[in-house]
Amino acid sequence: MTDFLALHAEIIITLVKIVLLLFIVLTVNAYLTWFERKVVAHMQTRWGPHRVGPHGLLQPLADGAKFLLKEDPTPEGVDKFTYFLAPLMALTLALTSIAILPFGPNPIHIFGRDIFLGIVDLNIGILALFAITALSVYGAALAGWSSNSKYPLLGGLRSSAQMISYELALTMSVVGVLLMAGSFSLRDIINAQAAHPERGILGWNVFPQILGFLCFFTAATAETNRIPFDLAEAESELVAGFHTEYASFKFAMFFIAEYTSMITISALCSIMFFGGWLSPFPASWTFAHYLPSAILIPFGLWVIWDGIRYETIFGRIILPGVGAVMALIGALLIVFPFINEFIQGPFWLLGKILFFLFFYVWMRGTLPRFRYDQLMSFGWKLLLPVSLANVVITAVVIMVRGH
């Protein structure tokens, strides 16, 4: 047994990692829906979900259950194989892209092994990501076509055209960053931003690459078919777009795929333009390392305080518990500095990802949807030229400064 472990350690570790990551991502997905609904609701001065569990915290579970238990009809005259393939493809690709992201700078030491955060560390990471994004078009397109129905077909056409168009801008806008880092590997890109630790936030790519960032974020939003680029599933025009004919779990697959790609894009944004796991403060400010606890403890205390006055018994039990756990973790971080040191990277990365997710939701709450011709002309006539210009400028600057 043990020698088996010793022999195939790498494989086993990777498998474990995969399982963990899957679990985390799916949970996050579920709570992302809750988060989105809450935020949008508050933007529209509603309560949002608050029946199921305290603050509707159990809503995602309910939704999941619903997805699993509902009947799954297959419409007449669909192309069976493709009809099943489409959501599978979408979900698989979306989840795969997560596997390429690194989540922390330094590996964990367990069982005398270095286990770095993240499943694979490709030296062509960003390219691989783009490859996967490129393939993820098929999810929508095939779904639309195979459903053998008008609205999905239109949705599929729209999404495929849209994604091809914006992929150009997406790829182009990153070239600037790649030129500055001189590598495709996400790690290298982050380390390149850490070249001057004393500068802190000023070392990030956003400032030199602001154009690139704007282009990238816009194009990425379009790639994920999110508002304001969600023409593929425009409720008001196409019922539900390419997944009109899908129900229950197949529908859930599309859903999860979309949210997962949101997470991926947010992670990419923060890695490539916002210094990934780097702290915004100069390296000399060591006290900034206590920021996690400085956030967790008060928040935990607030949750406790909020929980004891909660109307339902259930809430009065759960919320203080959660708060207590948070506060406890915060305290632990102070007590065990090495954990604190280790937690820094992931903390900042997750923080940034969270921010971008919020930004997504925010946009959804704010922006109206593009008209299709606007979408196309925007992508081809504005985004692409700007990103190209960004590439040229960056290249020239780099050449002049003689890197």
């Binding site: 192309d79 194989f81 493709t82 393939l85 490709l122 030296n123 062509i124 390219l127 691989a128 783009f130 490859a131 994004t133 490129a134 393939l135 078009v137 098929y138 397109a141 095939l142 639309g144 076509w145 195979s146 077909l153 599929g156 056409l157 495929s160 055209a161 994604m163 091809i164 992929e167 790829t171 001189g182 495709f184």
Partner: protein, 167 residues
Amino acid sequence: MNAPLIIFFVLAAIAIMGAVNLILQSHPIHCALSLIVVMVALAGLYLLMGAEFVAAVQIIVYGGAIMVLFVFVIMLLNAGAEERTNISRLAGIAGLPLAIVLMGFIAAAVAQSTDRVQAAAQLGAPAPTKALAGLLFQEFVYPFELTSFLILVAILGAIVLAQREKN
């Protein structure tokens, strides 16, 4: 039987099956899907040979752009399963044997002719993308520019062809 060899055979099998499927399937969309499979398998082979960049480009451009275009057109024209006409006698009779002969020819030829290549073949060091870029932008810069021109022409041509003549 080492790991790369196993991987090679798996991928090769996938590729060939995909290609065969391309021939057998009757609906263009399925053909397109099987072609995509072939392409992904080839990308895997490129990775195996250490040509990461080419592999990525293979998937991004072929899988993500060209084939999407095909699928798009198929959806646009709503092309159904192809009808079984058999007007061209010649193709029906001479096609298959000739094609097989051709295949055998090429296979035999390369198999016979690659012994020298074999002598020269070293372990495929992972192709540094930097070196590739250098080659592409210095030695092959004029062809490169020409290709850009080619693409421009292609865009114009596509627009001209696809737009409905206004009358």
